[in-house]
């Protein structure tokens, strides 16, 4: 319990500093960059969230898979905010507000991402159409023009 309180205080202290510190190599890593939360439930929540956030300095890695200093700082942000009682969705929204949609691996339906959701629906319809045409035409004498 003491440690949790201490961590929360630390998180509050570090948070205003974290902005300028992001991505700087020379600073030592933030406390939660490489340390887990005490509570396994919260850690699981944080870990699941971290796997869906992009490390902005790397190529195609989540912040849970990266040694980049910036990923470490973002992990620290996620863990300390989870500890402070924020929900994963709030943290994601905060990160998106800060870094843009690019930071989240989980695209949300928006003006720029709707094809990602519409096209799979179309694919389902096409698949159903193709299957019906190919497999459902037993009685007709059509050729196999799939």
């Amino acid at each position: 319990m003491n440690r949790a309180v201490f961590a929360m205080v630390m998180a509050l202290l570090v948070m205003p500093l974290a902005g300028p510190a992001l991505g700087q190599d020379s600073m030592p890593p933030a406390p939660y960059a490489y340390n887990q939360l005490e509570d396994p439930q919260l850690e699981a929540e944080a870990s699941a969230l971290m796997h869906t956030l992009r490390c902005l300095k790397c190529q195609s890695q989540s912040i849970a898979d990266s040694d980049a200093p910036m990923a470490g700082d973002m992990r620290h942000q996620v863990r300390s905010r989870i500890l402070a009682g924020e929900s994963p969705d709030q943290i994601r929204a905060w990160l998106i507000a800060r870094y843009g949609d690019y930071v989240s691996y989980e695209p949300e339906i928006s003006a720029t991402t709707w094809p990602l959701f519409v096209i799979p629906v179309l694919v389902i319809l096409i698949v159903a159409g193709v299957l019906l045409r190919r497999l459902g035409k037993r009685r007709t004498d059509e050729g196999e023009g799939a």
Partner: protein, 660 residues
């Protein structure tokens, strides 16, 4: 001098590709039976071209082996102090070298086809070689005009820049060549499909010629992806085995298409059905190979904008891609109507199940393609979006789950027509295992939906994979059937590994002072010491971790944090402790200010099954090739085999169902 020989060989090979193309096409213009004087050159041209392209690659290999720093490519990608094995593998650890490997394999497979394939009608063979030559020509032009691997420096460099340390690994020796061989093996399937389409020879004997190439390419792709996944797993230091990274997707897409093609071509060979479908998948599979090459080789992935600023190479490949894919689909559209109808079949039949799964594989391919290309598309308009596991996993599962269920019962169905009631017992058994496993797992804890589903599907698929053997004399089961059983069983094994990794992984990240102990799963991990060590081109700190399971005898793990000096880069060398039921994955990180060391340890139950499964799938493919080749060599007629199989199935049905 050696490099100039390589360059000359490459130009000569390009010239021979032109000859091959013209000669093959000339044969096509003549009526059946009449011989065109030009047509005889196609085969020799393909064979000599293969020798020259392989020679060109060998000269580059030599230049890397002796670190010839007067060659620009060697100077920018190698270093005299590198271990020999990484000097050699560095040959294809860069753009020009890997494209030369690509072209070398392309020419070699064309040469093999020309040298050994005697079953096809000469006109079809000519058309196939013409297409193969046309494809090769484009890539020779790409190498010679925009990525010459043999370019000399005006003044030789004093020392090379070195190779990205992440690539200085035995993984680089295995992964890219296997994958490239698979990619390019599909080029033969593509050329054969086009050749058959042009000469209207889409029939079972054509399918039997195509099948070993498709199977071979598919086996190599499977191995390449498996090796790549394991390489990423132990090299990147965070225990992830699949990232839905565009580069990985670039290898997955041809695999999906090749999997569909392989099943389709088997139906064509055995049943003379799915003619146009097979041709279309043949075109699609190689298109995905070329698209993968474009994605990985054009630099478009690093940044669309960097690509737009220096678009020479990228637009060259994009142009080739447009030419080949567009051309192939145009010919397909024009000729598909002329391909005579194949044999028809009922919804509930083995063909029906195969068609269903081919459509599902194509749908997964569409999802992966969309998720890979969409971010690139929006980036061109300055909108950056990320598409990652939270999108790919559920979107592909929508199609993968029905596919796996159909895969479970498909091999139990008869060809042409069957009644669902006949496999009632088997279907019930599979469903019972599925539901039972899910219920059992849910009883012990809360798990995410997809891993839970995977834990249910895996044992059900494992049982289903073995069911086609039920009631058969195991000594008389054909090798190809064993191949299918093994490959489907491998899917179950791999799925089990993935689901376990997703559901049961335990993670421990901590700062530990020497002497301190951390607990992860059943393991107590004690940091004994941290010492500096040095390798040929790196220095490192090495941790000695004493790992003991349930208080048993400790085992020493030695993960390293390496610093390479040329180019300067840090990497984590993870240490793995493999047990039959999983792997312990340990990484040493930085030292904190108070002197403690960051260690990361994971216990990943059954994670190894992911790659064992991949190997089983590939082994299944090898058995299928062996079986088919043996059958082909015995020149057994397909009809006789079909009759045999029907008789066997009837015998199977006649037996009473054992009460188990």
């Amino acid at each position: 001098m050696i490099a100039e020989i390589g360059l000359a060989a490459l130009w000569l090979a390009a010239a021979l590709a032109v000859l091959q193309m013209v000669s093959g096409a000339a044969g096509l213009r003549m009526p059946e039976g009449a011989a065109n004087p030009l047509a005889i050159y196609a085969r020799p041209a393909a064979i000599v071209q293969a020798v020259l392209a392989v020679l060109a690659f060998m000269t580059l290999l030599w230049a890397f082996a002796i670190t010839d720093l007067s060659i620009k490519l060697v100077a920018t990608n190698s270093h005299s102090m590198k271990p020999m094995i990484y000097k050699l593998t560095g040959t294809w650890g860069n753009h020009e070298g890997s494209m030369l490997l690509w072209v070398g394999v392309l020419a070699a497979s064309g040469g093999l086809l020309a040298a050994f394939e005697r079953r096809l009608p000469e006109r079809t063979m000519g058309a196939t070689l013409a297409v193969q030559g046309f494809v090769a020509l484009g890539f020779y032009a790409f190498l010679l005009l925009s990525s010459n691997p043999f370019e000399r420096l005006p003044v030789p460099a004093m020392e090379g820049t070195g190779l990205n340390p992440l690539l200085q690994d035995i993984g680089l020796a295995i992964h890219p060549p296997t994958l490239y061989a698979g990619y390019v093996g599909l080029s033969v399937a593509f050329s054969l499909a086009m050749g058959a389409l042009l000469t209207r020879e889409v029939n079972p004997s054509f399918a039997r010629v195509m099948r070993p190439w498709v199977l071979g390419a598919w086996v190599l792709l499977t191995l390449g992806i498996t090796a790549g996944s394991f390489w990423a797993y132990y090299e990147l230091g965070w225990g992830g085995w699949w990232f839905w990274d565009p580069v990985e997707n670039a290898s997955l897409m041809p695999w999906l298409a090749a999997t569909a093609l392989m099943h389709s071509v088997s139906v064509l060979a055995a049943r003379d059905a799915l003619r146009t479908w097979t041709i279309m998948l043949g075109v699609l599979a190689f298109s995905m190979s070329m698209l993968g090459t474009f994605l990985v080789r054009s630099g478009v992935l690093t940044s669309v904008h960097a690509f737009a600023v220096d678009p020479e190479r990228g637009s060259f490949i994009l142009g080739l891609l447009g030419l080949y894919i567009g051309g192939a689909f145009t010919i397909f559209a024009l000729r598909a109507g002329a391909v005579a109808e194949g044999k028809r079949f009922a919804l509930v039949s083995r063909e029906g199940a195969l068609v269903f799964n081919n459509v599902m594989l194509s749908a997964i391919l569409a999802i992966v393609l969309l998720g890979t290309l969409y971010p690139l598309l929006t980036e061109a308009f300055d909108v950056r979006v990320s598409v990652g596991p939270p999108y790919f996993n559920p979107a592909s599962a929508i199609f993968a789950v029905p596919m796996l269920l159909v895969m479970a019962v498909g091999p139990l169905l008869r060809w042409r027509e069957d009644k669902p009631a006949r496999i009632q017992f088997e279907a019930m058994l599979i469903a019972a295992v599925l539901i039972g496993a899910i219920a059992l797992v849910s009883f012990f804890g809360q798990f995410p939906f997809l891993p839970l589903l995977g834990l249910g599907l895996a044992p059900a698929l494992a049982v289903a994979a073995l069911l086609p053997l039920r009631g058969r004399n195991l000594t008389r089961v054909p090798a190809a059937t064993w191949g299918m059983v093994l490959a489907h069983f491998g899917v179950a094994v791999s799925l089990f590994g993935m689901a376990c990794e997703g559901a049961f992984t335990e993670e421990r990240l901590a700062a530990v002072a020497p002497g301190g102990t951390e607990q992860v799963g059943d393991f107590a991990v004690t940091l004994q010491s941290v010492t500096p060590v040095a390798g040929p081109n790196w220095t490192a700190i090495e941790a000695r971790l004493a790992v003991s399971r349930d208080g048993g005898e400790p085992v020493i793990l030695a993960p390293q944090a390496r610093n390479f000096w040329s180019p300067p880069q840090a990497t984590s060398e993870s240490a793995l402790l493999t047990r039959w039921d999983g792997q312990l994955y340990a990484v040493i990180g930085n030292q904190a200010e108070d002197g403690r060391w960051q260690i990361r340890v994971w216990w990943k139950p059954f994670v190894t099954f992911i790659w064992y499964g991949g190997l089983l799938i590939a082994l299944g493919g090898v058995l299928a090739i062996a079986g088919r080749v043996r059958v082909d060599l015995k020149r057994r007629k397909a009809v006789a085999r079909g009759g045999e199989r029907r008789a066997e199935l009837e015998a199977l049905e006649a037996q009473p169902v054992p009460a188990e």
